[in-house]
Point group: C2
Chain length 690, copies 2
């Protein structure tokens, strides 16, 4: 691939992006699309005034949304999207900062060294191959390799310093988030699983007996989990209808009669007073709360947060597989269907999904290998001889090498998130945020393996599989492959990166659904059913993959950095816009994403350094290789320090903070209600109706 | 090596063992050696009557000690040596059981198959090579490989079943051990480290403020750790002298005057009443307990066991590197010198010792490679041509191949435990048992790597190092090497195994020291200074190594099994004798050794199965290979189940058990003293004088 092909690709993608962003700026002004582009706003404001007035302005593209996104402060993001959204923004800010430093260093120091690395006659810059700008162009044993080594040092050090301050500030934010959050049922509640079965006694009685016996001073109440039977499902449907009725604008009851409860008006009254709902719909009336329907899981509510956390930290019984406790997720976060899974199955399920994930990752190599073939035109024309004439045309050549491979890869990659989400569901987490985090990790491993590693192994499918068995050779193999695969990854950033942002901002799928609903089903009411929460499980791995590509290519092929910087800047604006306007916050994990980001960045750094050692070795510069080894050690030590210093905050609750919160509650509770009783009433209503 | 050489080696070793055991049975009857062979008994009985009467019986070897060792019950072992001794005995019983099953299967099924595996004319059995009895003699594609596969299944299954029941019973024993143990300061006390420094306030005040603030209901008292200065060391010496004076038979004060306190009689009074000692020697008098000498560590004593454990389970402060809590070790178990190490150094120390251990393991390859050369006589005579004539003699040939390599290896191995113990001390554990466990693990890894793996790699030092980089090839390499290295490991069991037991029972080092002390220094008093606790850190890895050799060779070269069984039977008797007579119990870890034994056994099983797959592959029997794969999966699943079911008991304390114990104390304490106050007084005395 030469500079011309790169420019073609860049031009196509820039054009496409500008076009799509303009289209977005028009589409978002159309009132019919407001539910697609302002879902969160509408849901929070409950302001559904149709602005159907026609104006010319509506059809002129404008950059106002960019200005608005830029002006949003971090506090606003925190208030709107929660700590997770802030963490995601910080990830982008970190990437922008570190790659700005890298870009300055690489473009002004490394790029000239690469370009003049060999005594050769340079062609006109247009016809120059991309390889001339990579480290492949530096001659063996060159004394100029110190430039690469120095740049690597500067990038690694600045990345570590930035990571440290980010980790520190996010830890502080997490603590503040916990301290300032209002009393929440999940703070006072633990989930007890694997309650031992005793003949002639209901699970409910067992729980009561156990906790009044051992936690008499702090135990408040409990709620057994019941099997999700048919009647319950009907009730859930009734609840949904009920919510819909309530959601009708101006509070007018709909005319459709409700067969389960006789009328919509009564429903409305009921939902306003949860206790009444509980009475009229109580499980005992419907015979749901019988012994047969009880499952060996329960929510146990304590009087203080501290007591609840203590109960989760201790091993309860001499059999570690019974009376298993963990902190309950927030009510909206609970994954009710998984609560009924017997605890004894969990470890098997985890192993099975792990194996399934590995098998899926390996089988996925087939399409990737095919895509790889496309970047080498000669291979393609050998495989499909009838294409030869067609492939000789210049434009097609450029499109094929510069664009098509990435598009095919991207399309295949769209099947990954649903599959991984399915695997994570089967695994049996009890919270939606836990499932999302687990899926995020799976997709991350998948992306790094299938997009990054496999594309660098020249021998394709079987060769990549063989490489697994000789772990030590991977850095050397990568060192050989990286300069050659630079063109593929530059175009990958252009296509997959830029296009994914356009796609994200356009929301083509929601737009299509909305269009079909309005024009085919003639349903002109905006419903908030389709509103989704932020897809961290797909977006975090994507951003981290570009980070990995950025680090590994920064020193080897610096030409990738400007494109990457544009990607991160665009991402910063686009995701801000999306957080503010589109996605709703149903639940949150309290910044649990950051350790994933941190660890992946450290992995990227160490991999970059190992590849650099390999490349310096190939270039016969033992001094540069030797100087890089201390860098690896320092990076790993830095990571270990962060693991000691910050990571426990993300895994355990802090006694001091909890006790202070409980005291504050007690002081305010002395003149009012008890927050833990509040928590219980919220929880039991949610438990009955979810 | 042929059967003749094997028999020579066996004869030499049997003769040597019988000789040494007879010598032991005579030596133990000599009154002058009683402190060497009955140290624990004497220490516990305080019965130092010299039995200097002469009798002929004293010089006749007798097997009475074997009978006594055999007749000791498990309860006696538990009472004398504690749970750790029982766990060690169970390890030996497990090995005897599983290798008995293996021996029956292998000698009656696998051995004939191996022997008649190829159509060949068998020589006279004496001259037969050992190789004829290994799997190497089975021809490729033989249909008889199902016998090996079946045997592997039977061995693996019986090992897993036995492991399960052992784990179950040891878990029960551990719980019983905790429940029935008398109130111990370590139950009520936690060790707080990394107390944050605040200007103008002593650490002692900080601790008091923190715990009265957050643990007001359960906090009892605390004891700051002071720096070990010169004055303190003098005091410790004084204390030692004082103990010695007290230990003089018939309570007669010695005539040596004590310069620190003026006289021995007063010392005697003091040691009987710790409180008085504390007053007269209190730190304030000697100006030890000043702020400058305070270290940022303290023992904090709680009113109940449960409260103490809670304080260790929680993260205390928003900075996870300050107010770090862990359960305090027993007073005799505390490694006082390590308490002063700043907590912030610990993670660095761990990394440094890990690296040091790896470097030590790698450098140790040199002597091992040399030893390996000795087993191949041709190599030896090539290296040292002047030896050629000498080597042609038959007896020397046999001794050299069958005996010398193991002896040299063994001598080198004697330097390992002190080195690893040193590394473990530097690592900074706060308890002696923790240090021993850490050293045990290091020695285990060392032994498995240097004795097992490296001996199987034919290419020596550099080749073994290369192998590290291609992990996938290790099983195949082992599969190639195992049948050829059978002779080395048979002799290793004979020499290193049997000789180590004779050595253990004879205690040559203590014997020599005792002899020198009595005859050169003319000191005829038995002192209990030299008494040591059981060296689990050297003996557990040794037994586990023989287990590993047993598993891997059982199917491949069954001739090793009888020798191994004899080793385990002898070990069973010898170690029982040693636990009852020689070693004292200063502290114990409560069965923490078992998870190490369990994990190593699972590792050995899986390695055996992987090697079997490799060997079946080499023998071109894909069916047998295929049938072995499910076995690996089942073994790993079994291990995961045990990890879920039993292992948490060894890591965390059980709330239910602790609460019951506290209640029992409360009931008995209502009519008497408070056990936690007792605990405090014990601890503070120990803290002041250790």
């Amino acid at each position: 691939m030469d500079i011309d092909a790169l420019l073609t690709s860049a031009a196509i993608n820039t054009g496409l992006s500008v076009l799509l962003f303009s289209l977005y700026s028009i589409l978002r002004k159309q009132p019919s699309n407001s539910i697609v582009y302002f879902g969160r706003r509408l849901a929070s404001l409950n302001n559904r005034n149709s602005r159907n007035h026609f104006s010319f302005e509506r059809f002129v593209p404008s950059p106002s949304w960019i200005v608005k996104a830029w002006e949003t402060t971090e506090n606003e993001i925190l208030a709107i999207g929660g700590l997770d959204a802030v963490v995601f923004q910080r990830t982008l800010v970190f990437s922008i900062r570190v790659f700005s430093i890298a870009a300055v260093m690489c473009l002004f120091l490394v790029l000239p060294v690469n370009y003049y690395g060999q005594e050769m006659k340079h062609k006109h810059i247009h016809a120059e191959s991309l390889n001339v700008f990579t480290i492949a162009n530096v001659k063996e044993g060159s004394r100029w390799l110190w430039a690469h080594c120095l740049t690597l040092y500067i990038i690694s050090c600045s990345a570590c310093v930035l990571l440290y301050f980010e980790y520190k500030s996010i830890t502080k934010m997490r603590l503040a988030h916990i301290t300032t959050s209002p009393p929440n049922p999940s703070h006072f509640t633990i989930l007890v699983r694997s309650i031992p079965y005793s003949v002639g006694e209901s699970y409910s009685n067992s729980v009561k007996k156990f906790f009044t016996d051992y936690y008499s001073s702090s135990y408040l109440s409990h709620q057994i989990v019941y099997r999700c039977g048919l009647v319950q499902k009907l009730m859930v449907d009734a609840e949904k209808i009920c919510t819909k009725i309530k959601a009708v604008p101006n509070g007018q009851p709909s005319l459709k009669p409700c067969c389960l409860c006789g009328g919509s008006t009564s429903f409305k009254v009921l939902t306003d007073e949860p206790e009444t709902v509980k009475d009229s719909f109580s499980y005992s009336n419907l015979n749901l709360a019988t012994r047969d329907n009880e499952r060996s899981a329960a929510f146990v509510i304590f009087k203080t947060r501290y007591a609840a956390v203590i109960a989760t930290q201790m091993l309860q019984s001499p059999n570690p597989m019974s009376w298993v406790t963990e902190l309950a997720p927030e009510p909206h976060d609970v994954l009710w269907s998984n609560l009924c899974i017997p605890f004894r199955q969990l470890w098997l399920r985890k192993i099975v999904t792990l194996l399934a994930t590995v098998v899926f990752m390996v089988l996925f190599l087939a399409p990737v290998t095919f895509v790889q073939g496309l970047t080498q035109l000669e291979k393609l024309s050998q495989t499909f001889p009838f294409l030869r004439g067609f492939l000789k045309q210049d434009l097609i050549n450029h499109v094929l090498t510069g664009y098509l491979p990435s598009v095919i890869l991207m399309l295949f990659l769209y099947t990954v998130p649903p599959t991984m989400m399915l695997f994570s569901s089967v695994e049996g987490p009890v919270s939606r945020s836990g499932r999302k985090r687990s899926a995020c990790l799976k997709i991350l491993y998948f992306t790094i393996w299938n997009v990054f590693f496999v594309n660098h192994v020249s021998g394709g499918f079987l060769y990549a599989f063989n490489m697994l068995s000789s772990v030590g050779d991977i850095p050397v193999e990568l060192a050989k492959a990286i300069p050659n695969q630079a063109s593929f990854f530059v175009t990958y950033v252009l296509t997959s990166g830029w296009a994914s942002l356009s796609c994200e901002v356009m929301q083509p799928f929601s737009l299509l659904c909305n269009f079909l609903k309005k024009h085919l089903r003639r349903n002109h009411e905006d419903s908030s059913d389709g509103l989704v929460s932020f897809p961290y499980h797909t977006e975090v791995p994507r951003v981290l993959l570009f980070g990995l590509i950025g680090f590994t290519y920064s020193v080897m092929a610096p030409l990738i950095l400007p494109f990457l910087l544009i990607y991160f800047l665009l991402a910063y604006l686009v995701y801000r816009n999306q957080v503010v306007n589109v996605y709703i916050r149903k639940y949150e994990s309290g910044g649990q994403l950051w350790p994933i980001v941190h660890n992946t960045t450290i992995f990227s750094l160490v991999l970059t350094q190992m590849i650099a050692i390999g490349v310096f070795g190939i270039k016969k510069s033992p001094i540069a290789s030797g100087f890089t080894i201390p860098l690896i050690i320092c990076t790993l030590l830095f990571n270990e320090y962060c693991r000691q210093r910050f990571s426990p905050i993300f895994k355990k609750n802090v006694a001091q903070v909890l006790i202070e919160m409980d005291r504050r509650d007690e002081q305010s509770g002395s003149d009012g209600r008890d927050p833990s009783t509040d928590a219980f009433s919220i929880l039991s209503v949610t438990a009955n109706f979810s």
